[in-house]
């Protein structure tokens, strides 16, 4: 294909390749996303950009032409959309269902385009594409004007912190290149953009299909005096200067220790600049040191800036490893274990407030629990709705608590240090993307009070090793009966014990909780904390709770020192427990009078590897208790 285009100077390539290469080595990079509704012509626009920038070769073009005739929607003309709709299944459906990244280059810039789907159920993909974009092109079909989805996409673009917005009013060829139509749409959009906080945008009338105002000003729109889409994309300022002017921050990815004489901290600089001799502080520990060298394969640097991957060496042997952040000493970021964040739920399985999720921010990986959301944001009306949990594609605002302090910046200040993902601890799926709004000051103000008498002292005084014997099993499985028996026998052995019983705790500490999944999680979290405090006091704690979810039992295990949590699975089959029905609860559940009953209409996740397994079919409670005590001996 030899179409003359403003993208590449074929003459220069042919005549003086070295000059061409020199010119192209100094190009900058712009990442942008295109978003629009199903039929706004996104894929066509991207196909057009690739076509015009000569990123399509003859063999691909031949395939495209034959594909166009077979699957295309443009009759005999080339259907550019087919060029970018990748996966075979979606090609047949004629819609894009995932994020695809495309590349093209002009004389001034290299571009990476995220093609993100426009239809209803895929907020998640659009958020993904937007997270790395510097600029967003929002497409509107000139025949239809603003749609619900235009509002949603604009809101998401704004939420994800994209500062450069282009409003591309597409399919101008189908509205006769009418200026009034265009101006109406722009005015509508301006009013909406202002209402959600988009401060400015650039509007361009285009036709992706015909090529108007894509690379050069179109003769069809003499009333439009602004830049073509490409001209605008080539010249828009990326925020590099601002990023470099910000205070220095670098998350440590990996400690480079090839031999005893070298210890370097490898990472990509998230903001600011650094020079040898600069004073730095390790966050969250607060230790300070001085940068001695900026090491790279290409030699030591005098200065490194945001975006570069480097290795720093420090003057002092400070404790610093993956997950720590190296910051300028005088202006470090905050570190907190509580913050408020806006987050997008991306998983089929809904958010469970109170449950522990992995939270990854920069190179930090911690466990985070989420409070019930303050509200959910309806992406269509932008109203705040009351919400107990969040489902797929829902956006909410909630308070987060992490198991140790993490260093961060509000997302509005730094995307790299304010954006995080949540990972389900069992499926390992990425379930949410979050943006930190601000730190909750109480975490900064509530400090651990060091106590003179340690937990070891308490244990020694009682002449025993603390344990939490965690009984789990169905209602009526015999947990309380066996736990009681174990406590009696331990008591006879002069052990200091305490039994926390599910029903009893619900009369007091947890009387505000019901039986929804969310409340059940909170129930176990509180019991876990109480059990931990009692173990700190040196006691052997027995707990008898259904505790149906693996994740919460795992959470309690994580609260205690290794070896102190003993999971005891009272493995009585459902039929047996239901046949006994000591409290008459199964009958009520079966008749529908009792909702969310474990084993009936609420799941029980059996332990995979309990420390001890007993049942009440083959053993009497006394035998089960003896078996348990044999397993946990010795106790000091």
């Amino acid at each position: 294909m030899k179409t003359p285009s403003p993208f590449q100077t074929d003459a220069l390539i042919a005549e003086d390749i070295d000059a061409y290469l020199h010119q192209h080595q100094h190009k900058s990079l712009l990442r942008f996303i295109t978003c629009g509704s199903v039929d706004d012509g996104k894929s066509t626009l991207i196909g057009r950009l690739l076509y015009d920038s000569k990123m399509i070769f003859e063999d691909q073009l031949a395939a495209l032409e034959s594909d166009s005739k077979r699957n295309g929607t443009q009759g005999e003309e080339i259907d550019f959309a087919l060029l970018v709709d990748g996966l075979a299944a979606e090609r047949e459906q004629g819609i894009t269902i995932d994020v695809a990244y495309r590349f093209f280059t002009t004389e001034k810039r290299k571009f990476i385009v995220a093609d993100t789907p426009g239809h209803e159920q895929y907020t998640r993909n659009m958020v993904t594409g937007a997270s790395t974009a510097d600029l967003a092109v929002i497409l509107i079909d000139g025949r239809k004007g603003m749609l619900q989805q235009t509002r949603r996409h604009s809101y998401l673009v704004h939420l994800l912190g994209i500062r450069h917005v282009v409003l591309a009013v597409n399919k101008m060829d189908l509205v006769g290149y009418d200026e009034t139509t265009y101006e109406h749409i722009v005015a509508d959009y301006r009013a909406f953009a202002q209402s959600i906080g988009i401060k400015q945008f650039t509007a361009i009338p285009i036709s992706g299909f015909k090529g108007d105002n894509i690379t050069a000003a179109s003769d069809n729109t003499p009333w439009y005096a602004g830049p073509s889409l490409i001209q605008h994309l080539e010249t828009v300022e990326v925020d590099a200067a601002a990023a470099q002017a910000a205070p220095f921050r670098m998350p440590v990815q990996w400690v480079n220790r090839p031999n005893l004489d070298f210890r370097g901290f490898a990472g990509q600089i998230a903001s600011g600049a650094i020079r040898p001799g600069d004073a730095v502080r390790i966050v969250p520990s607060g230790k300070t040191s001085t940068v001695t060298r900026i090491v790279t394969f290409d030699g030591d640097l005098d200065e490194a800036v945001a975006g570069q991957s480097v290795t720093l060496t420090l003057a002092d042997e400070v404790d610093c490893s993956r997950g720590d952040l190296i910051a300028t000493a005088g202006d470090p970021p905050q570190a907190s274990d509580q913050f408020r964040a806006t987050f997008v739920w991306m998983d089929e399985e809904a958010l469970k407030p109170g449950r522990g999720y992995w939270l990854k921010l920069g190179t930090q990986l911690v466990t985070a629990a989420i409070q019930p959301p303050e509200y959910e944001i309806d992406v269509n009306s932008l109203e705040h709705l009351a919400a107990k949990a969040l489902g797929l594609n829902a956006i909410g605002v909630a308070e987060f608590a992490t198991d140790r302090p993490i260093a961060f910046e509000p997302y509005g200040i730094n995307r790299q240090l304010g954006g995080f993902i949540l990972i389900d601890k069992f499926t390992n799926a990425t379930v949410a993307a979050g943006m930190i709004d601000f730190s909750l000051r109480r975490a900064d103000n509530v400090h651990w009070q060091p106590t003179a008498i340690t937990r070891d002292d308490h244990a020694v005084m009682k002449n025993q090793t603390p344990r939490v014997l965690w009984f789990t099993g169905l209602s009526g499985s015999g947990k309380s009966t066996i736990a009681n028996e174990v406590e009696k026998q331990l008591f006879l052995m002069n052990r200091h014990t305490f039994l926390l019983d599910g029903d009893n705790v619900r009369h007091g500490l947890n009387r505000d909780l019901g039986f929804t999944e969310t409340d059940r999680i909170e129930n176990i979290r509180r019991v876990g904390e109480v059990a931990k405090l009692m173990a700190d006091a040196g006691l052997i704690v027995l707990t008898a709770f259904i505790s149906p979810f693996r994740a919460e039992r795992q959470m309690v295990r994580g609260m205690l020192p290794p070896g102190e949590f003993i999971e005891i699975f009272v493995d009585t089959p459902l039929e047996v427990a239901e046949a006994r029905d000591v409290k008459g609860l199964y009958k009520k559940a079966r008749s529908g009078d009792l909702k969310n009953f474990t084993g009936i209409d609420s799941p029980y996740e059996a332990p995979e590897k309990p420390e001890i397994r007993v049942n009440t079919v083959d053993m009497t409670p006394e035998e089960a208790a003896e078996h348990i005590i044999r397993q946990i001996m010795p106790l000091k």
Partner: protein, 300 residues
């Protein structure tokens, strides 16, 4: 204020990805095909861990029909940089009667490339493998994540990919899963060549034009790289100045006639060319979704 060029930004991103994997995986490996993309990947790996050497071995899937020059280059590179090389090969190919002349391309690539690769990954217990795939190569690749998960059978499920936001990669694996990581996903062919030129990266001489014995077959120019090349009746090798844009098994990889003996001329040809680099590969032909099918099977 320092303005980073697009190549500097790509380089920094790739280095970041290498380090994330090494920090989070237990037993990573780098797939090393000895081609230009692999050479760039190796160069980036050396940069990422400097002054330490790359903290993982490199794995070459040798089909037995590799270009001689490629093997020489591989062994020299491994020696020079002190790398640990693992070679994966199908030892029984000859006994099974598999060769690039008689075996269909699908079965051939399965038996000689995909299966040995999967076996080597499983046998060595590698939980993360760096690959040189680029999103600009092919439509199916454009949608692949940088961290791409494979189940225990090394299959890719394009429907259940994890979203990748910002520069946060979720490297948590379930039992039996492994990750294919593509550190140069965002590079284009032009970026690769520019970077090779700029960084003076040593690449296999097959990329440069030289008089080579060739035969023309099925619209492709094949180089008679050794005496095992089976000539059809009436075929006679002709010496032509040719080079390769992509390197696979020599009886399946088409050469292009060229005078480009220097890097800048290669780039010049690439920019002025009218066909994509994968056109030289017999394996990609067939229906247009075939790359996606192969990826689902575990082809890199």
């Amino acid at each position: 204020m320092i303005d980073l060029t697009h190549l500097e930004r790509l380089e920094a991103e790739s280095i970041y990805i290498f380090r994330e994997v090494v920090a989070e995986a237990e037993n990573p490996v780098m797939l090393y095909s000895v081609g230009k993309d692999s050479s760039v990947m190796l160069h980036l790996a050396r940069k990422a861990f400097y002054p330490a050497p790359p903290p993982f071995p490199v794995l070459h899937v040798a089909s037995g029909w590799d270009f001689k020059d490629l093997l020489v280059h591989r062994d020299r590179t491994v020696r020079e940089y002190g790398l640990k090389l693992i070679i994966a090969a199908n030892e029984e190919a000859e006994a099974q009667g598999i060769n690039p002349f008689d075996t269909g391309s699908a079965l051939y690539s399965q038996a000689q490339l995909t299966d040995p690769l999967k076996r080597a990954l499983s046998e060595n217990g590698f939980d993360a493998a760096f690959g040189g795939g680029r999103r600009d190569e092919e439509k199916a690749r454009a949608k692949e994540r940088i961290f791409s998960f494979r189940n225990a059978a090394h299959r890719w499920d394009p429907k259940s990919q994890r979203p990748e936001l910002w520069n946060l990669y979720n490297a948590k694996k379930s039992k039996g899963e492994s990750i294919r990581v593509f550190p140069i996903s965002n590079w284009t062919e032009l970026d690769i060549w520019q970077y090779i030129a700029l960084e003076k990266i040593d690449i296999v001489p097959l990329y440069f034009s030289k008089p080579r014995p060739t035969v023309e077959r099925d619209g492709m120019l094949l180089v008679v790289d050794d005496e095992r090349f089976r000539l059809e009746p009436g075929e006679e090798p002709v010496t032509r100045s040719v080079r390769f844009r992509t390197l696979g098994c020599y009886p399946l990889t088409g050469a292009t006639v060229s005078d480009a003996t220097e890097m800048s001329h290669i780039i010049q040809e690439m920019l002025l060319t009218t066909s994509s680099e994968r056109q030289g590969r017999a394996i990609d032909k067939g229906q247009s979704a075939s790359m996606e099918d192969k990826k689902q099977e575990g082809y890199f």
